[in-house]
Assembly symmetry: C2
Homo-oligomer: 244 residues x 2
């Protein structure tokens, strides 16, 4: 099975360079491991129109959509409202979530904290792992928080439901630069047009000059493409190969 | 002067989690330092339609557009063609650039390497700093390479031309969580609606619980907003403040 995904990172702090986003790299790595093809990552401001427009677009284009950020108790947390708008739904207080917040904060509960019980109407709540609070799901959109520790724990607790057929990855490290080997890559792609072939030069690495990645969900296909490439590359060009 | 920017990161290696993008965080930080407001970062695959569509959209919405990646000699380097398509232009070999490549590679020059002399028709070449190769500019779009060391050197060599009025930043670190201080943030925004106010909780930090950022291009405005917030926050709530 193939599955595509899009990631929407919501946060002015990323766009203004105050915080480096680690959430989309984490999700990209984890989703790849379970065979999901991440097709796009958009980093957008904490603004309703941006959130609604991007989520509306993503939910139609990709099988799975993950959002990160904008779900706390403050003025700049407008993700829930933006996603509700993307689906043409109202924002409602979810009674079970409200009770959990009241139990958690006790006499310190206030309007700001109760804001965290708001969900797009009809949303599903996914409880998983040892986490006190659920992940909010609206159709194919999964709403994750911006704090990396919580995002990671939440994602890992629900990861299995997203599993697709795995990608098979072969890596070839070369001593020659891209300009010298481009013709062999093109030749390989002519014979194996469905191969996912990446070419990544690395400056200043003493071990190799270019890292080539060959991928496919078809194990036999990627191994035949690898054999083809290794056969036509100039002698002595390959430092080593790796399989995953 | 205000200036907005959008960043387009082109690369399957980012989307598949093989490489963590450091280029957009670098550009976001550097652009912020010179007063440019980065409004969006999109990470997209090495595919013509994605590149053309995203650049076409960005160049109309933002004052400045920076692309990263996809400008080398191999099959997956399709950024130039994508940007040409976004502008409805042809791809042409730039004679000066071709000569530089022939001088640089000498007898090792080949078709793959000469591909790096291709530009969208009518593009401008910006030579800067000690770099051998120029940055390619098409109207408000600046084409940067994916290799971080080269992207950073190229950007720093042309940075000054993008300078806008600076943002003034004040940071307040608090001992109370977001739920406890949200009302004071809302109060401050009612009095200072144009304030850029961010609220960022940090888990497990022994020094503070929330980092608040107050920003404006109007120095007096941000300092009056800061004074207002400090006046209404509960006693003992503030760990420290910082000014930039």
């Amino acid at each position: 099975m193939n599955r595509t995904a899009g990631i929407v990172v919501i946060g002015n702090e990323i766009l203004s360079g105050k915080v480096t986003d680690t959430n989309s790299p984490f999700l990209a790595r984890e989703l790849r491991k379970i065979g999901v093809d991440v097709r796009r990552v958009d980093v957008i401001p904490d603004e309703l129109d941006d959130i609604a427009g991007t989520v509306r677009d993503f939910r139609e284009r990709f099988d799975l959509v993950f959002t990160s950020g904008g779900v706390g108790p403050t003025h700049d947390d407008v993700t829930i409202e933006g996603i509700a708008r993307a689906f043409g739904r109202r924002v409602v207080r979810e009674p079970g979530l409200e009770q959990k917040l009241r139990d958690f904060y006790k006499h310190k509960v206030n309007e700001a904290r109760l804001k965290m019980s708001e969900v797009p109407e009809g949303a599903e709540l996914i409880y998983g792992g040892s986490l006190a609070f659920p992940t909010i799901q609206v159709e194919n959109v999964y709403i994750l928080p911006g704090i990396p520790e919580i995002l990671e724990a939440k994602f890992l607790s629900i990861r299995e439901r997203f599993a697709a057929d795995p990608f098979h990855l072969r890596i070839v490290y070369t001593r020659e630069g891209e300009g010298a080997i481009a013709q062999f890559l093109n030749d390989t792609l002519r014979s194996f047009p469905a191969l996912l072939l990446g070419s990544y030069p690395k400056i200043g690495n003493p071990e190799y000059v270019v890292k080539l990645t060959l991928e496919s969900k078809d194990l036999d296909y990627v191994d035949r493409a690898l054999a083809h490439l290794l056969r036509i590359l100039p002698e002595g060009c390959v430092v080593k190969t790796e399989s995953f």
